[in-house]
Subunit: 265 residues, 2 copies
């Protein structure tokens, strides 16, 4: 089934989460199905991941690629190293701002390619992260979700100041009832504590919350913590094969909104 | 200073760990110095990381590169994703075998490049990890360290069965007094608990142990947990700029052994 699934696949609702982990154990990416099943009751709060999920990283890819000697093909390796080191900080109990870790990992990668990048140069290469444009599907989707009465809250690895700038610059702030950053707890996603803490912040049980993200590791962590999840299979994004399937899956946020708006209040 | 430091730099002993973190905070890769300082008293146990530190990953790079459609340049991205997801499992409290996570992340990366890789094919691509050859400096260095009375113990993210095969196949088993794998505690390095647990396993205080690794994140985690550290600056390896400098640094294990063997008993 996996072999036949297009990468940019259409929305599907995964089989009941209870049955799925056993069916999927060690068997690779979750199989997709064209027949939507029951997504469960309407979630009370929708948490939104920010980078790549809402915002388009292209300007950052360009500036980081330039800092790496004109090699944008190295940017995925930098981003992966940034994510790895955010968790290195987490398991070492040495929280640092996501941007500081981003600059440190960029300097390591540059050094590996014979490029000496100063702290200032690395910070400059990362500056576009604060003014990324939203993906084209995002604003109309947030509008629909807001009109349908959903409470929308960011839950991001970006710092509190970082996500504030991101939401103001992208014009998305008007749709949010709150912005949550992992900075407040000093642990990066997908630490289980982060999702449970986020649910407490909005006064709901974790099961009544839904996380929307374009990263397999993020929806994995949220599901493991008891949250419902919606995976956006944006280009180049894959579900993590060792996690339970998401509650919802969609090609973009507009497609996900269609299902969410239709859920009875 | 960083600009002048050769990537394949000669052994140096970092400045006193107490003074260094402040001096280095946010200032990029630790500066090197040609003047060795006091490495402190002789460690009672030397913990050895395995993959890349003792063993040469080239055969794995070849097989994984082949599984990725003949693109060995993607292998660093796979290895980074494997490390990231090992910590995703750790912070989600969902431990899985390093090889299982390796296969899952390899399948995700393959799918991102339009390659459908079965679970069996992914496992086959990873099989060479069990019979990697040691780097040329490793066996003579372990021999010298053993003759100098050091107790040598592996401390690896590989599974218990995995490191057993690795040490037997590489001929290095004879130099080890024990093999520790993170599998026993169900948390991957660099979780602080792993290093403290390892010290307890050998009956020594964490400060009397030294970890040798070619990964900046590994020596960072060990240092944060209170262990002394030796970083091997193998090609393509960088210290993590946001961690304290290692106790020792060497181009390879033979160079590190020279310093360690000279320490008074």
């Amino acid at each position: 089934m996996h072999a036949d699934a297009p990468l940019d696949r259409r929305l599907f609702v995964a089989a009941a989460a209870a049955a799925a982990p056993a069916a999927l154990a060690g068997s690779g990416p979750p199989a997709t199905t064209a027949a939507p099943a029951d997504p469960g009751p309407r979630p009370k709060v929708i948490f939104l991941d920010v980078n790549e999920t809402l915002l388009n990283l292209d300007p950052l890819v360009a500036s980081v690629g330039e800092a790496l000697g004109g090699r944008p093909e190295l940017v995925p390796l930098w981003f992966s190293s940034l994510l790895h080191h955010s968790l290195v900080a987490t398991v070492g109990d040495r929280y640092e701002d996501f941007g500081v870790i981003g600059a440190a990992t960029l300097r390591m990668l540059a050094a590996n390619h014979g490029i000496d990048l100063s702290e200032k140069q690395a910070a400059r290469a990362l500056a576009p992260i604060r003014s990324l444009p939203p993906h084209p599907d995002v604003e109309p989707a947030l509008k629909q979700l807001t009109e349908a009465g959903y409470q929308l809250v960011t839950l991001t690895n970006s710092s509190a100041a970082g996500v504030k700038a991101q939401m103001e610059n992208s014009g998305l702030q008007r749709y949010l009832s709150a912005r949550l950053s992992v900075e407040t707890v000093g642990l990066f996603k997908p630490h289980a504590h982060v999702y449970r803490w986020a649910a407490r912040q909005v006064g709901e049980s974790v099961e009544d919350c839904l996380l929307v993200a374009a990263h397999g590791w993020d929806v994995a962590g949220a599901a493991w913590a008891g949250m419902r999840t919606c995976f956006l299979s944006r280009p180049g994004k894959q579900l993590y094969p060792l996690a339970p399937p998401p509650t919802l899956q969609a090609a973009d946020l507009l497609e996900a909104a269609r299902t969410l708006v239709a859920l009875p209040r």
